[in-house]
């Protein structure tokens, strides 16, 4: 049996918006997995960096916004330095966070930093 993937208007709008915000061409990813292999925080993630890009390609906005990965990415750019297609995944994650914020999904505010850490934290 054949499975046909067909993206609707909403999915296309989401992908276009991610491209605008991040400045990245998410379609160029061919799932080699080098990003996830090098990611120092992958052990904490529910969606790996390559899976994050695949979900963007499929327009899976809800699954992306629900993922823990968004706030585990430390923006270290190791994935960007390894990507053979030059995709900056940290920028894509930031674009998703930006879209998640108005939907009530935020993670950590400056007011939540424990006082004993705030004195020393750069």
């Amino acid at each position: 049996m054949r499975t046909i993937l067909k993206l609707g208007k909403q999915e296309h709008r989401f992908i276009d918006r991610i491209s605008e915000l991040s400045g990245e061409n998410v379609y160029s990813c061919y799932q080699c997995g080098r990003c996830s292999a090098g990611c120092p925080m992958a052990f904490e993630m529910d969606i790996l960096p390559n899976q994050l890009i695949r979900l963007v390609q499929l327009g899976e906005e809800e699954a992306l916004i629900a993922s823990k990965t968004l706030f585990i990415c430390a923006s270290c750019f190791t994935c960007q330095s390894r990507c053979p297609k030059g995709i900056n995944i940290a920028n894509v994650a930031e674009a998703i966070r930006y879209l998640a914020e108005p939907k009530g999904k935020d993670h950590f505010g400056p007011d939540e930093v424990p006082a004993e850490l705030a004195d020393e934290l750069p």
């Binding site: 925080m41 270290c76 960007q80 330095s81 020393e120 750069p122």
Partner: protein, 310 residues
Amino acid sequence: MKLHYYPGCTLKEKTTNLDESTYAAMKMLGYELVEPENWTCCGAEFPLNEEKIVGLAAPARILRQVEMEGGDKVVTACAFCFNVLKQTHIALLNDPLKQKRINAYLKDDIRIDPVTKERTTDFPEYRGDVQVLHLLEFIQKEIGYEKVRSLIRRDLGNLRAAPYYGCRLLRPKGETGIDEPDDPSIFEEFLESIGIGVVDFPFKQECCGSYLSVSLPDAASEVSYRILRSAKLNGADMVVLSCPLCYYNLDRRQDRIREKFLEFTGMPVLFFTQILAWALGVEAEILGLDQHFFDPRPVLGITDKAEVAS
């Protein structure tokens, strides 16, 4: 020789040891550091979002100030500030529209002197002529390792240092980094020039956990410990770095790492300017070595008695 130097907020507030050792080391190398007048925070993080363009205004304003003071380059010792200023410089250089939009903010600046209440307006645009250099780059390109070598006053040949790059000196890959992101050598060359043994270790460009040390402390401890353990296993007496956040995670949070990993006995973590200043013969008292969680003085052979330059 005068040189524009942008310290950044953290160096004046929380890691004064990085700022003070930079001043001390550069004085020994023959440079008088000049801070751009009325400098502000650089923003700490370059905006990853194409639409948050206002985040470029603060760093561009700092670069314009250097330009107004007749400078053609600015050096930084903080890896984060370096990254923000350099990325801003590149973004404005490569994108005329961005430059135009940022200059629209900068032209409307009003400065009110806090004492005289004098108002200054009519600021010029940023032309994009300021070169942003990290101090490691400046030492490599402008001072030269030969000169550094000739000024060394203390022999550190019996010590082994692990250079830790972290993220912000090398990435994003492209024009930003001070060296190749996956095979850097500038830090090693610098350490060789000051006569200290160099340890190569596989975690030298791995992320320290960044601000996850606040939101996910356990995960951050784990990645920080990986780095320290790897340096230790490869025979390092100390880890040397340039980033205040890496310093926070790798030194100040060693209490948490020790709670989680009982076999960890601690590791001195120093800023590259501290070890440089020490090698150049600067007295220990002005290097802020007492601010560290893990006291680096014993490994440097500093006792309570004032150390005399050899």
